[in-house]
Each structure stands twice: as structure tokens, then as C-alpha cells.
Amino acid sequence: MGQNTRATREYPATAAPSDTAQRTSPERTAPRRKSPLAGYLLRRLGMSILLLFGVTLVTFTLANLVPGNPIVAALGEGAASNPATVAAYIEKHGLDQPLPVQYLNYLVNLFQGDMGVSLRTGQPVASDLAKAVPATIEVAIGAIIVSLAVGVALGALAAYRRGKMSDQVVRVVSLLGLSIPTFWMALVAFNIFFLQLGIAPGSGRLSPILAPPPTVTGLYTVDALLAGQWVTFMDAMAHLMLPVFVLSLFTIGLLTRFVRTSVLEVLDADYIRAGRAKGLSGPRMLFGYTLRGASLPILTIVGLAFGSLLSGTVLVEAVFAWPGLGSYAYNSATSLDLPGVMGVGLVVGVIYLGINFAVDILYGVLDPRVRLA
């Protein structure tokens, strides 16, 4: 991150020497070579697949190292005392096989899109996750959009007004966002905005009076729009408000601090001074030069924050009765539902790898030197 920032200071993306070099290079007239970006992406893809394999191995091993008996946890005391029920259960779930065989079976099934059957819900894990993941994605996307809008604005404001009262206020606000426990904030926000003020709806993704829209993406807002159900869309948006607000507080605090630091570094760069000397100011200077120059570290943080939002919403989902990935992970873990736990581990792994992959591509888009590296 620090290296990128230094490089940006010396060679702004809009007028990088490498850009000029590319235009005058003999390579332009030489036979076409394989794109370095494509090679880079292929390498990353191969690495991601290997990492996914590692994720399955780690989650399987950890899930089976946990003390406790999943049969007793799943069947309960009464049924677990019935030998016929226990025998049928073991046979049905293949629990009588040695662990390496169970793992191999898991991998073989995984390649066929079968993530196993949840010991808790009795449903295929893939179908459980197909409902839970979109619920979390919907709230995480909302939170990241709000965080980006507010965090970048506050961070840039604080940097531009460095040392002044507004800078101090923004820093305090961002510190609060980072410090306040999300679970506590969720309860407080629900109490104030729903119970006391009545301007937010109750828990869940939709009001109980409404039926979920026909599933296309699993995102209620998008599916409602696709189905032309405006009331459902508005209701889903309303139910998103509080979870998004609560989840975005931490990310806003994080982003504000990073944006402030990055923008401060860029503001000292020669190309910014040159731009100012030539009369550039206002939004063009902010969005066209300053933020673009500061964008790489911000992008890294946004990627990590988005991954964290997708995989770390357990407590907020509990407060808002949001049937997402966090709730599913918690319920699976507390009931020793090993297929469920492994499914969540795999999905979270895929999410992080996917986000890292996307961030890498965006690096290339934002900074041409990365494409050529």
C-alpha cells in the first residue's frame, strides 16, 4: 500500500511516464504479445482455485476437531438414545466412514455442486446458502455504498480542512464509528428508530403482510423491481435501512480515516500543486485528480471491508432477525452442523477470493502501471 502511494505521488496516473513510454515503445510495432494482464489474471485464478481447495481442507479438519458429538447435537437427547434412530442417522449422513473418505466424498460431491445436507435443517446446504447469501449480500452492498459515499466525503473533507474544527469533528465521528460495538448499536438503533420514533420498520427483510417477490437473484429489492412489485420494493428498502445504517458505521469510520490519510498524502504531490497553479479547483480537482490518486489504498480497504461485511454480520443479523449468512453460520456452529459450517467456510472463502480478484482487476483499471507490471 505504501509503495503504491509513493509511486502515485511521483507519477500520477493521468500522466505517468510509463504511459508515454508505451506510446513510443518499439513494442507497439512488434508482433502482438500475450497480454500481461491476462496472464496475471490466469495466475490469480489458478492460485484462487488452490486456495479454495485449502479452504475446504481447513474447514473440514477444524469442523471435525471440534469436541462434541454431532449426532447427539443433531438428534437431541431423546432420539439419540434410540439405537435404531442413531444407526439410521449415521448411515444416512455417511458418518461411519473414516474421515479421509468423508473428505474425499465431500470433495467429489462438491465438484458436482452438492455441498451435503445440513444436519440442522435437513435441507441441502447449497439450497440453504442460496437463500442466506443473497440476504447478506443485499445488506452488505447497501452498507458499502453508504460507507463509500459518507466515508469518502468525510475523509476528503477532513483532509482538505486539515487541522480545522471540521477535521477534528470528523476524526471524532470516525473514532466513534470504529469504537461503538455493532451489536449494542443495533439494539439502540432498533429501539430508537423503530420503537420510539416509529420511522423504521420491525425486524426481518419484509413486513409480515407481504410475500417475498419471485426469486431471481435472491435480493428482495432487485427481485421486487424485476417483478414490478413497487410496494414490496419500498418495503424491502425500508427494512434495509437500519441494518445498513448500523453496519456502515464501522466501515464509515474506517474509510474516513484511510481516505483522510491517503488524500493528505496526495495533496502534497507535485501534480496536485501543478494543477492548482494552472487554476484547477473544486470537484474536478477532487474527483479527477486527488481522489483518483488516492484510490488504490482506498480500494484495498473497501475490498476488505466488503468481505468483512459479508462474513461478519452475525450479531447484527440476530438483532434484526435477518436470515443471512451470519445467522446461518451461527446456528450451524452452535448445533455442530458440520456440513453447514463447511458450506459457510467455503462460501466465505470464495467471497474473499472473489473480492481480492476484483480488487486486483480494479487496480489495473485505475492504475495502468499495474497492467504492465
Binding site: 471440534v66 462434541g68 458429538n69 454431532p70 447427539v72 447435537a73 438428534l75 437431541g76 437427547e77 431423546g78 432420539a79 439419540a80 438414545s81 434410540n82 435404531a84 434412530t85 444407526a87 439410521a88 442417522y89 440442522r120 435443517t121 435437513g122 440453504d128 437463500k131 442466506a132 439494539l187 432498533f190 429501539n191 423503530f194 420503537l195 416509529g198 420511522i199 423504521a200 420498520p201 420491525g202 425486524s203 426481518g204 427483510r205 413486513s207 409480515p208 403482510i209 407481504l210 410475500a211 410496494v231 419500498m234 418495503d235 428498502m237 425500508a238 435501512m241 473544486g282 470537484p283 440476530a318 438483532v319 434484526f320 432477525a321 436470515p323 445467522s327 446461518y328 452452535t334 455442530l336
Partner: protein, 525 residues
């Protein structure tokens, strides 16, 4: 300047959108879900299947009870005597043959008449599905069709618990034709669960509209229902709300009308506009003192158990449990046949004498308990801490060893815990549920208490199990409970309360130890 105006306009537009969305939040179609014909129930979901024959968990029971009917039922919260459901019954003098006669004219939700074939299929299906958690309910019961209206259930030994068993929603009567068409069988090859997860095949006052295991179940009125219930709410939404604080706020804010899982402290803080139905549940929280020397060492003797029993200040422990809770008077909770009327009282002199007789020499005893599994709003950590403090006053040194439920339960069921806090709830509303506490029985063995160690208690349990008349049965269960209270390795502590809170215009809440409450009995005042 123009750019500034554009930004200001965009900001105003975005703000207006948010306000609109906020307005939509407070007034979705029909208000906030409180239309008189519909009701929203918040509960922490324990729901694994829509198939009653495979269900064994509380939310599943509540749903099954609304969708299906059983041969027998209980009236309101009175679980002492089964009353006719789909059928009435007679039994022989030996209590080994029970003849059920179906009520006339009853139909399933598709209009199909209910016959003896449906009863035989439904009960044999549960009996045949050995993988079902409810399978044990049919253990030792033979089902025979007598004619289209009559079915005979027989057992090899006297079984006065059988009528109570037939109230369990897992033994609901299904539309056999419909279920067979969709993969139903009476053995382990049954494939009807997927169908029953989306469509109900019963005769209850409601039919299944939709079922999502993680978020909500929606029930609508069964228009073909011709039973005794007169339902007020034609649409019921049962929502998964795991956080009891959220349940409380949803109820107070009008987003739901019933909250099922509030603790005693939470219902105490509810204001106007809310009704609370607090009653002792059928759960019993108890201390287990292992009687196997291999597991418990020097404390593995009845004298040490007595020392602990008389050292505790039970009213002080009860303070942790809140509304609706009671001191446990024995292993059989108050609402069941044979329950004792009075619990143990603290007697430090008796405790001291028993401790001296036990051979205890100040060793530190480890108290294990699940720390993530409150029962009826009672968290085990503060309870364990108070037990530790009280036992310290009596000269017994205790160290606490909490662990997650899923880790702890394996140690408990395999009898590897020397001293622990656990709980027991009935699978069906009959005192026979508590006979496993006997020496040599399931829970007894978890405490290392073998039949050879206390043959007298084994005999008392057998007498209760095989009683053929209700008077004989009540006496036998009382004797069993008394014997355990005097010499057993269990120290019953608390029967936690069940607190069901509703909007003030709702009446008819009646707690049941199996299905929590009968949704069809909820009425609008």
C-alpha cells in the same frame, strides 16, 4: 455555480428518496401487520421439517399442531387428562389394548374423509421411519385396523401413557392417499418429507402457505376444517426472531402480536398494551452428582448428594429465574401426575452431617454446565455461580467449568460428568417421561447410578410404568418422586417459567409442554 446547484439538487433528491422509503417503512400495505384477521408470532426457531412424523422440536410442534390433528388432544393448558381429538377411546382393564373410534364427518383439507386407513398409515409411517427423531414414540405399539372408523392400538405391557402419547403432534394423522402419492411409505424408504415441506396434508384448522426454515412459516385458514376450533385469525405468520430483545421490541412496536421466548425479567419490564401469560414450564433444571467412583471419586456416594441437597438456598436460586418460575419439588414438574407438593428446604445442619458421613475432605469439585443454552430464560452461568457460593458456605469447594452446549452434552449423555447442571423436559405430556431418572435408566446411568445400586427405586419405577389404574399410577409416581428426592443423585433446582406475551387484544393463550401453545386457540377480544 451551476455545478454547485447540481450537487445541491442531487442531495435534495437523495434525501427525499430516503424520506419516502422511511415513510414506506411505517406503513406497508395494511399498516404494520396488525390487521385483525392476521397475526404475527415471533419465536426463536427450532424448525427442521414440515413433516410432522419427522419433527421433534418445539417450533415444529407448534406448526404441526396448527396444521394437523391427532387422535387425542388436551383442553387448554390442562395436560392431566387427554380429551378426544379426531377420535375417542376406550381401554381394557390391563391397559394394553386401546380402541380408538374416529369422529363422524371429519375431513382433510382437500375434503377427503378421514378413515382408519389414514390412522394406520400415519402411525405406522412414524414407526417405520427409524431415522425419524420421533420414531421412539411408537416403540412397542402395534396398530390394527378394526373397521373404517375403528383402530386398535396394543402394547405388550400396561401402558397408561399411550393416550398422552397420542396427543403428540408427531403422531398426527395424515391424508394417506395424498402422502403415498408423494412418496410416503411406512418404512425408511419414505420420501414424502419434501412434499410435506411445501404442502400440508392434514385436517387442522390451518393449511401451509409457505415454509422457510430460516425466516418464517405462513399458515392460512383451512376452509374445509370441520373440527371444534373456531379460529379468529385466518392468516398466521410465525417468524424466526432469535434475539428475545428484538421479540420484545417487535411486540411493543406493533410489528408482531405474540412473543414466545421472553425471559422473566423482560416480561416484568413490559408496559401497557401487552398481556403476559406466565406459567411454570415443564422443564426441570437440576444438579447431577455422579455415583460412579471412576468418574466422581470420593463424591460418588448418596451422602454427598444429600449434603449438596440440604446446603442450597432454593428461594435465592429462584430469584434468578423470574416470572412464572417455581422451585422444583422433584424430578416430576408441578403440572404432572405424581409431582410432589413441597420442595427441599435448606438445612445446613443436615448438610453438615451428610458431608461428614460422605468422607469429603475439602477436595475441589468441578461443576460443569452449558454456558450458551438458557432454559426458560435461566442462564446457567449465574446459576452455577450462586450454587458455588452457597456450597462454599456449607464447606464444599467448587470450581466452575462452563462449555458450549454441543460440547457439554456429549459428556453428559455418556455419563462422564461428576457434577453438573442440566435440564430435562418431557417429550409428551405424561409422567412416564420422568422414569428415565430411575437407577439403571437413561438419565440415571448418566449419573453413574446403576440398577444394582438402588433396586428399590427400580421397583418403584416399574410399578409406576406398569400401573393399570390412574389411582394406582398417581401413588406409584409420587413414591418414585419421593424416593429420588431422598436418595437419588439428582438435586432438582428450578422449574423455569414460560412467558408468552401478546398484544392486549389477544386472548386464549394456553401453555402446553409439547407444542408451547395452540395457535388455533388464540382469539381476538
Amino acid at each position: 455555480m451551476r455545478t454547485k446547484i447540481r450537487y445541491v439538487a442531487t442531495a435534495i433528491g437523495l434525501s427525499a428518496s430516503l424520506v419516502l422509503v422511511g415513510c414506506a417503512a411505517t406503513a406497508p400495505e395494511g399498516g404494520s401487520g396488525s390487521a385483525p384477521s392476521s397475526i404475527v408470532i415471533d419465536t426463536a426457531f427450532t424448525l427442521e421439517t414440515g413433516d410432522p412424523g419427522r419433527n421433534y422440536v418445539p417450533t415444529g410442534y407448534m406448526v404441526s399442531k396448527a396444521l394437523y390433528e391427532t387422535l387425542l388432544d388436551f383442553a387448554g393448558s390442562d395436560e392431566s387428562t387427554p380429551v378426544p381429538g379426531l377420535a375417542s377411546y376406550e381401554q381394557n382393564d390391563d391397559a394394553t389394548v386401546f380402541t380408538f373410534t374416529l369422529a363422524d364427518g371429519r375431513v382433510f383439507s382437500d375434503g377427503t374423509p378421514i378413515t382408519a386407513d389414514d390412522v394406520v398409515f400415519s402411525l405406522n409411517r412414524v414407526k417405520g421411519m427409524t431415522e425419524s427423531k420421533a420414531n421412539f414414540l411408537m416403540e412397542g405399539i402395534e396398530v390394527t385396523k378394526v373397521d373404517d372408523k375403528t383402530v386398535e392400538l396394543s402394547t405388550a405391557t400396561p401402558s397408561l401413557k399411550l393416550p398422552a402419547l397420542m396427543t403428540n403432534p408427531s403422531l398426527a394423522i395424515l391424508n394417506s392417499k395424498l402422502v403415498i402419492e408423494n412418496g410416503g411409505t411406512t418404512d425408511n424408504s419414505d420420501k414424502a418429507e419434501t412434499f410435506l415441506n411445501s404442502t400440508s396434508a392434514g385436517s387442522g384448522p390451518y393449511i401451509l402457505d409457505s415454509l422457510d426454515f430460516e425466516s418464517q412459516v405462513v399458515l392460512t385458514e383451512n376452509e374445509k376444517y370441520n373440527g371444534a376450533e373456531d379460529i379468529d385469525f385466518t392468516r398466521v405468520v410465525i417468524r424466526s426472531v432469535s434475539e428475545s430483545a428484538t421479540q420484545k421490541m417487535n411486540l411493543e412496536g406493533g410489528d408482531s402480536q405474540v412473543a414466545v421466548d421472553l425471559s422473566g425479567d423482560q416480561v416484568a419490564g413490559l408496559g401497557d398494551g401487552v398481556n403476559v401469560f406466565s406459567t411454570p414450564s415443564a422443564q426441570t433444571i437440576f444438579l447431577l452428582l455422579n455415583q460412579s467412583a471412576d468418574v466422581a471419586g470420593v463424591t460418588a456416594n448418596p451422602e454427598f448428594a444429600s449434603a449438596v441437597r440440604y446446603a442450597l438456598d432454593y428461594p435465592a436460586l429462584l430469584e434468578l429465574a423470574g416470572a412464572g418460575s417455581e422451585q422444583a419439588t422433584g424430578v416430576i414438574p408441578p403440572s404432572f401426575l405424581g409431582a410432589l407438593t413441597d420442595g427441599v428446604e435448606q438445612d445446613l445442619a443436615a448438610s453438615k452431617a451428610a458431608l461428614a458421613a460422605s468422607g469429603y475432605a475439602g477436595e475441589t469439585i468441578t461443576l460443569e454446565y452449558p454456558n450458551d443454552y438458557p432454559v426458560g430464560g435461566v442462564s446457567f452461568t449465574p446459576l452455577a455461580e450462586r450454587v458455588q457460593s452457597q456450597l462454599a458456605d456449607a464447606g464444599i469447594t467448587v470450581e466452575l467449568a462452563p462449555a458450549p452446549f454441543t460440547t457439554q452434552i456429549d459428556e453428559y449423555v455418556n455419563g462422564r460428568e461428576a457434577f453438573s447442571i442440566w435440564f430435562w423436559g418431557p417429550d409428551y405430556a405424561d409422567s412416564a417421561n420422568f422414569l428415565p431418572f430411575a437407577a439403571g435408566a437413561k438419565v440415571g446411568l448418566r449419573a453413574g447410578w446403576t440398577a444394582e445400586q438402588d433396586p428399590a427405586v427400580v421397583e418403584l419405577a416399574a410399578a409406576a410404568e406398569n400401573a393399570t389404574s390412574m389411582d394406582e399410577r398417581e401413588g406409584a409416581f409420587s413414591a418414585f418422586a419421593s424416593a429420588l428426592q431422598e436418595q437419588g443423585p439428582f438435586v432438582p433446582l428450578i422449574v423455569p417459567g414460560s412467558n408468552i406475551a401478546t398484544a392486549d387484544y389477544i386472548d386464549g393463550v394456553a401453555y402446553n409442554s409439547t407444542w408451547t401453545m395452540d395457535i388455533a386457540e388464540l382469539q381476538s377480544k
